[in-house]
Symmetry: C2
Subunit: 347 residues, 2 copies
DNA sequence: CCCCCTGATGTTAACGCAAACATCCACGCG
DNA sequence: CGCGTGGATGTTTGCGTTAACATCAGGGGG
């Protein structure tokens, strides 16, 4: 009397499962170990045998099973990427570059968004990614507080892209200070007495470094350092800051910490009847593709996000492969792009 | 006589490997199967036992091994996402939403960039992702030619986000036609005789549908259909088209297929001395966060990318889970946002 | 001519987990 | 009071792959 469960034929799944090495081996008349060798491009396989195996693979449409391979090798061939706001231009570009570089290195990319720009959120994302599924992790524009509790588990190679430095992890960095200096120098060189700054959010390391570099550059030049305004990267926040600045006649030059905020600043100035660049010079940071088409084509600092992404993967690969020595740093130089939003002060 | 290989102690790796279920089982004094049950939140475990196991897990820092689990279950708990230009705002936002929804469903996200916006490139990315590592695939703004050779392998659930429809895959779609109609109706309603269109690239399905809807809307309204201009989504291409249009005095209303191109168009008009919106009305599509801060705050169509992303995951989960019936479609309605870049024609 | 070395190939044994099946215990009902 | 029932738990097995070791054939030097 057949039980109803029996109908399903417990172990012999007749539905065309994807073929395994054993299937290929059978077809090629070799052992599955030889198939494995061919699949992994080992040298010690006879040319004719290899050919036969390859043919069988093709015939059967064989694909190696990543899980089985990962189980035995302990490697996933996957790299994890953590970022907070992936729809922000710079982060997206960096991510795209990482993804391209990873593909070239035959690595998959596992993305995990951080819920917030906090050490805790980053750590949570990190933990999730750590669940054995990745060989290395790249954090885009993330900061971590290097306190013992927030320290990341160290069993996996880590690279920070444009994030917090000064800790024990590898880092690919855009030289924020240099970019900032070039902006400030450009504006002071045009004859402005000083430069006002609309900073990015306090919890962004990049924003903080730009603000610090702005401060130091002005001090070094002997200019007075005006009060700092904060935004949150959005054009809206730039607009808000711009309204405030538009009310002060002494403001002749504004350095916004990114291009979106610069756009908002320009809009506020326009509404207040102050012309850019005749009355006020405005600069940004990033050089988004639209910057040249802003109300006044924007003088800004171009960041090479592609280079950042590529370097990240390189550094990660180094750690995964060798693991020799201390984690390396890499730096990418930004370049000042002068357009029409800056000019000598009136009068 | 010890061989030199012996120094490495073949099987007993003393280096602290991550603990397995067996370790947890030993510590908790249960079988590893019970640990498995606890790890998978099964009902049939005694409360006290469960507690003991959980404690042991915590103590040992146990993390389930994804590879082993995948090997035995045949599921990876991972979903693949394919997109061409992930740094484009809409794609990035959709991707972010997918990633969030996936996390909530305890799924990982594996991203694979398509090298180009072609069926072949998409298929290649698809193949790579198929290498057993994903349970389902979402394609963002991709089109495929539904010819036999380009047909995707069908062993994995697939959802298209805002991509080619009219094939046998599930689809989440922004109602491009409706959004376009609302723009055209708005402009005609203001009194414009007709509306010029700067379309997105020919290989974009979204662009094509907007162009078609524009064409039909004009025809339906009895307006003459002016020649179509093509861009590539970039502000630069919008600028180029804008220069051409600025030279034609009969142009009073322009519908650009996205906001970046609208910005370029506005810039070109401004350079030509034609004011927006007094002389020419301009609209975009997308409603990027900066749109409100363009030289003239942009009238545009807001797309709910978050909804698209979430629907994608839902539909994919349905396919993975049930697989019942034919793949479903979902549609997201866009909404017209009227700002200051549109006005009645002069005179 | 024999031995040892080299390169190709096969065999065995995990990797860590969950499905299927087996076992055990306590409880309730006839 | 015995037996069936159902829930908790244990045992066995195999997922597809690679590392390690075993085997085998051929070739060159003493």
């Amino acid at each position: 009397m057949p039980r109803e469960v029996g109908a399903r034929s417990p172990r012999s799944r007749p539905l065309r499962q994807s073929p395994s090495m054993a299937d290929v081996a059978a077809m090629a008349g070799v052992s599955s170990q030889t198939v494995s060798r061919v699949a992994n491009n080992r040298e010690n396989v006879d040319a004719s045998t290899r050919e036969r195996v390859l043919a069988a693979m093709k015939m059967l449409g064989y694909r190696p099973n990543t899980a089985a391979r990962a189980l035995v090798t302990g490697r996933f061939g996957t790299l994890g990427v953590i970022s907070f706001d992936i729809s922000a231009y710079g982060n997206a570009r960096t991510f795209a570059a990482i993804s391209d570089a990873a593909r070239e290195a035959d690595l998959f990319v596992n993305f995990m968004g951080a819920r917030a720009q906090t050490g805790a959120a980053v750590r949570q994302a990190f933990q999730q990614l750590m669940v054995q599924s990745v060989d290395g992790i790249i954090l885009i524009e993330s900061q971590i507080l290097d306190t013992p509790e927030l320290r990341l588990p160290s069993t996996v190679p880590v690279v920070f892209a444009d994030g917090d430095t000064g800790h024990r992890y590898a880092n690919v960095d855009i030289d924020q200070a240099e970019g900032t200096r070039s902006v400030v120098a450009h504006l002071l060189g045009l004859g402005h007495r000083t430069v006002w700054h609309v900073a990015g959010p306090r919890d962004s390391y990049a924003a903080r470094r730009r603000a610090e570099a702005w401060h130091r550059s002005l001090k070094d030049a002997g200019s007075v350092v005006p009060p700092l305004l904060y935004g949150d990267w959005s054009a809206t926040s730039g607009y808000r800051a711009g309204r405030e600045l538009a009310g002060r006649p002494e403001v002749t030059a504004i350095f916004a910490s990114n291009d979106q905020m610069a756009l908002g600043v320009m809009r506020a100035l326009q509404e207040a009847g102050r012309r850019v660049p005749q009355d006020v010079s405005v600069t940004g940071f990033d050089d988004v593709p639209e910057a040249a088409f802003f109300p006044a084509p924007l003088t800004t600092v171009r960041q090479d996000f592609d280079a950042v992404g590529r370097h990240c993967v390189t550094l990660l690969l180094e750690q995964i492969g060798g693991g020799t020595g201390s984690p390396r740093q890499a730096s990418v130089a930004p370049v000042l792009v002068v357009r029409e939003s800056t000019a000598p002060p009136a009068g």
